[in-house]
């Protein structure tokens, strides 16, 4: 289907988010929509699918003007939107989520057998191993994302909009998704693909439209431009190297994990961390990377194993104790674990810093709180109207920066990052890498889980590879390359 959006404008209060944007997409095309965090990409797509109203402009679908007032109406015309943030019901099963609101039934009685069968077929088509009867909340973020994609495919899709679909997927799942995109394109489906990952855009997209500050900068054929061109259009300047230069002077071993286990995901993990080091944790999805970190942090119960901090064995039973030992943990699921969405940026940052911001009686120093937040907003270049803006109305990348700011302000000794740059634009990624680099110079030690291999390779001083809950190897120096890591991660599978 051909989609034309003409002269679209939208303001939230006084914040002009979109300012006369044009966007055209033809049949059987994959269009990349690029732009910094807060450029207005998600907002534009929400307008297209009727989730929010536009102030100005027209939308033509196959030449006919449409003004959807609800996502359901757009879905009827075959416009399917897979959101940046997961939109699943955690307490329901995979199958119930896929058929939500469209349950197959006979006179109100559910036909569970057919639904289960269709779900299983969808999963097979996607090439993923997910049990249709599994409860959503028990699945990893990546698997939940695949369920969302499956849900979209289950509809009769004509225009598929994907807002950063791969940010939670593993390499192999990403490849599966790309295969699906290619086959949908062959069937004539138009695809709008939002991503901050340049490699992906150049792999699968035909055209690229760049937004900056709510304006459409340009639309090009992907074959006519380079990554650097796109980045320049996005941020209006050059960013130079993508990763900062790491210095290689480390202190003593500050943190050590020995034979850690927590059934069923963590089975035998050992590694150590030196002061000022960035230790990458690589592995496929399901390798137990996040679970290992949760076990260290005390948010999952430890079965066995020992944790030493500065040579002393410590017993961490819950996050409160972990925090006391100077550990901070930025989890991967920012919506459910990282943020209090209906509260302000200030509230979110101070929640992790209550001790520091209050006197002995527990009375908050609101000036100090405000100053800390304003400092963080500046340090992390968080794009917002002011510190009292609610985080739910921030763009995805800026939400991630708030989580980051919240933890870095606690002055941790050991910082655990689980997918720290998920959904963050190239410019801001660089800023986060620079912050990580600076922190290590101040003696902070960092453990970083990432599914983006370039990031692991670009930032880590050493890399621990996990496979099925076990640490299977540590690589360092020139051995940190894709081949070595993938070999260990798959163990020849």
């Amino acid at each position: 289907m051909k989609v034309e959006m003409k002269n679209i404008s939208k303001a939230f209060f006084k914040n002009q988010v979109l300012d006369g944007v044009d966007l055209v997409i033809d049949d059987a095309t994959v269009l990349a929509l690029c732009g910094e965090n807060g450029a207005g990409k998600s907002t534009l797509m929400k307008i297209l699918t009727g989730m929010i109203s536009k102030d100005e402009g027209t939308i033509l679908i196959d030449g006919i003007e449409k003004n959807y007032s609800h996502l359901k109406e757009a879905e009827k015309d075959g416009l399917i939107f897979i959101h940046q943030e997961l939109n699943v019901i955690p307490d329901m099963t995979v199958e119930e989520n896929i058929f939500l609101g469209k349950e197959i039934n006979k006179g109100g009685i559910l036909d569970k057998k057919t639904m289960r069968k269709e779900t299983a077929e969808l999963m097979e088509r996607l090439g993923v191993d997910i049990d249709p009867g599994a409860t959503m909340s028990k699945l990893s973020v990546g698997k939940q994302q695949m369920v969302e994609i499956a849900k979209a495919l289950h509809n009769d899709v004509k225009v598929l909009i994907m807002d950063e679909p791969t940010s939670a997927l593993t390499i192999s799942e990403t490849q599966t998704l790309f295969r699906i995109i290619a086959s949908l394109k062959k069937q004539g489906v138009s695809i709008i693909y939002i991503s901050h990952r340049m490699e992906e855009i150049f792999e699968i997209c035909d055209k690229v439209t760049v937004l900056r500050d709510g304006k459409c900068i340009a639309t090009n054929n992907v074959s006519d431009v380079t990554v650097d061109d796109v980045v320049r259009m996005m941020i209006g300047r050059e960013i130079g190297d993508r990763y900062p230069k790491r210095n290689s002077h480390f202190g003593e071993t500050i943190f050590e994990v020995k034979h850690l286990s927590s059934a069923p995901y963590v089975r035998d993990v050992s590694f150590n961390l030196r002061e000022g080091e960035i230790l990458g944790i690589a592995g496929l999805m399901g390798a137990g990377r996040s679970e290992t970190m949760h076990t260290i942090f005390g948010s999952i119960k430890k079965d066995e194993g020992e944790i030493d901090i500065e040579g002393q064995t410590v017993h961490i039973r819950n996050p409160i104790e972990a925090k006391k030992h100077g550990i901070a943990f930025i989890t991967e699921d920012r919506k459910n674990e990282g943020l209090l969405l209906p509260f302000s940026i200030k509230f979110n940052i101070s929640v992790a810093n209550l001790k520091k911001l209050s006197n002995k009686l527990g009375v908050l120093d609101k000036n100090k709180e405000k100053k800390m937040t304003e400092g963080a907003i500046k340090d992390f270049s968080i794009k917002c109207s002011d510190e009292s803006q609610h985080v739910e109305s921030l763009s995805g990348g800026n939400q991630q920066k708030v989580v980051f700011a919240k933890w870095v302000t606690t002055d941790p000794k050991i910082l655990i990052l689980d997918e720290p740059t998920r959904g963050v634009d190239v410019g801001a990624k660089k800023e986060i890498y620079d912050i990580m680099n600076d922190l290590t110079k101040e003696g902070v030690s960092i453990i970083m889980i990432s599914s983006e291999l370039p990031e692991i390779i670009g930032m880590s001083d050493r890399v621990v590879v996990l496979h099925e809950g076990k640490s299977v190897g540590i690589v360092e120096g020139s051995d940190i390359n894709e081949e070595k890591i993938m070999n260990l991660a798959t163990r020849g599978v």
């Binding site: 942090f297 948010s299 819950n318 996050p319 409160i320 972990a322 925090k323 943990f329 989890t331 459910n336 674990e337 990282g338 943020l339 209090l340 969405l341 209906p342 509260f343 509230f347 101070s350 929640v351 992790a352 209550l354 001790k355 911001l357 209050s358 009686l361 527990g362 009375v363 908050l364 609101k366 919240k406």
Partner: protein, 316 residues
């Protein structure tokens, strides 16, 4: 100044307008309503529900509910009355009953957090048990005669419910002080942040290093304390402790919170809203009496007003 104005929550604003509209409306219907004397007695009447509703608000903000307030009120009041009759001086008896209120609430909170039982169920259980204990304790009969006598003990107890300071009834002063303390607690202390974050997203709060278990236990203790405090005012006014005292009080307290925009799913709302809700209920009770609406109709009207307020709150 403008900044201040921005901070007024729209939902609170809605309930404030509802309150003003009610006052104006009832004043037009009866000239006996808008008198200083009536307003003072209206405020005094609202203090009981007010104190309970404040405690309830903290509980609701953490995402819970407390159905046991009425029973804890009855039990602690009965104990205070018995102590006084046994010769314990009233300030000490009051202190003991307040402390017991907090302990009873804490026990409920302990069951909820450590036993992982839904607050609705757990407080339903403690509501039943404490009511039963009250009946056993008092043999099912009122314990009366506590304010009789000429000594300091009787005078002190009487002053709490019936006295005035600067022309304003003592219970109103108590309500105001508690309001200010809780207002400060919620908006200016770490404890307030802990309550809001626990109710908004318990998982995120706990990962941020907040002791959500302790936070939850504490709000039930505060709620129990508030119930006991309300009970003391009642005891002073009535001069006796009825075993059925306070039954159904939880509903008015929850209604006050709902009227004031406290979200029953937790994490959202302000104590100012609850205060307005308490006043709306008090104005309704008092006003409907004054204009002579039969008590059968009063409940229906009250229900309808709550419905309208809660619906308009949804508009945002």
């Amino acid at each position: 100044m403008k900044d201040r104005f921005k901070k007024i929550n729209i939902s609170e604003f809605g309930s404030l307008i509802a309150l003003i509209a009610l006052i104006v409306g009832i004043s037009l219907l009866s000239k006996n309503f808008a008198t200083v004397g009536n307003f003072l007695s209206l405020l005094r009447q609202s203090s009981i529900n007010g104190l309970i509703a404040f405690g309830m608000t903290l509980v609701i903000l953490t995402g819970g509910i407390d159905l046991s307030v009425g029973s804890i009120l009855a039990f602690t009041t009965a104990i205070a009355a018995k102590l006084i009759l046994m010769g314990v001086t009233s300030p000490l008896a009051i202190l003991i009953s307040l402390l017991l209120g907090a302990i009873f609430g804490f026990i409920t909170g302990f069951i909820i957090t450590k036993g992982r039982i839904q607050p609705f169920i757990a407080t339903l259980i403690s509501m039943t048990v404490f009511r039963g204990l009250t009946l056993i304790f008092s043999n099912g009969k009122p314990i009366s005669g506590v304010t009789r006598g000429e000594d300091f003990s009787a005078a002190f107890l009487t002053a709490i419910g019936k006295g005035t300071i600067l022309g304003v009834p003592t219970p109103v002063w108590i309500l105001i002080i508690v309001f200010i303390v809780l207002y400060f607690l919620l908006s200016n202390t770490t404890y307030g942040r802990k309550i809001y974050s626990t109710g908004s997203n318990e998982k995120a709060a706990s990962l941020a290093g907040i002791n959500t278990v302790r936070t939850k236990m504490s709000v039930y203790a505060i709620s129990g304390f508030m119930s006991a405090l309300a009970g003391i005012i009642l005891l002073s006014r009535l001069g006796s402790a009825q075993p059925t005292l306070g039954s159904g009080y939880e509903l008015d307290a929850i209604a006050a919170g709902a009227l004031g925009g406290i979200s029953l799913s937790g994490g959202r709302g302000k104590i100012t809203g609850t205060l307005i809700g308490v006043l709306i209920i008090a104005v309704l009770n008092n006003g409907l009496n004054i204009i002579g609406v039969s008590s059968y109709y009063q409940d229906v009207i009250k229900g309808i007003v709550i419905l309208i307020a809660v619906l308009s709150d949804k508009e945002r």
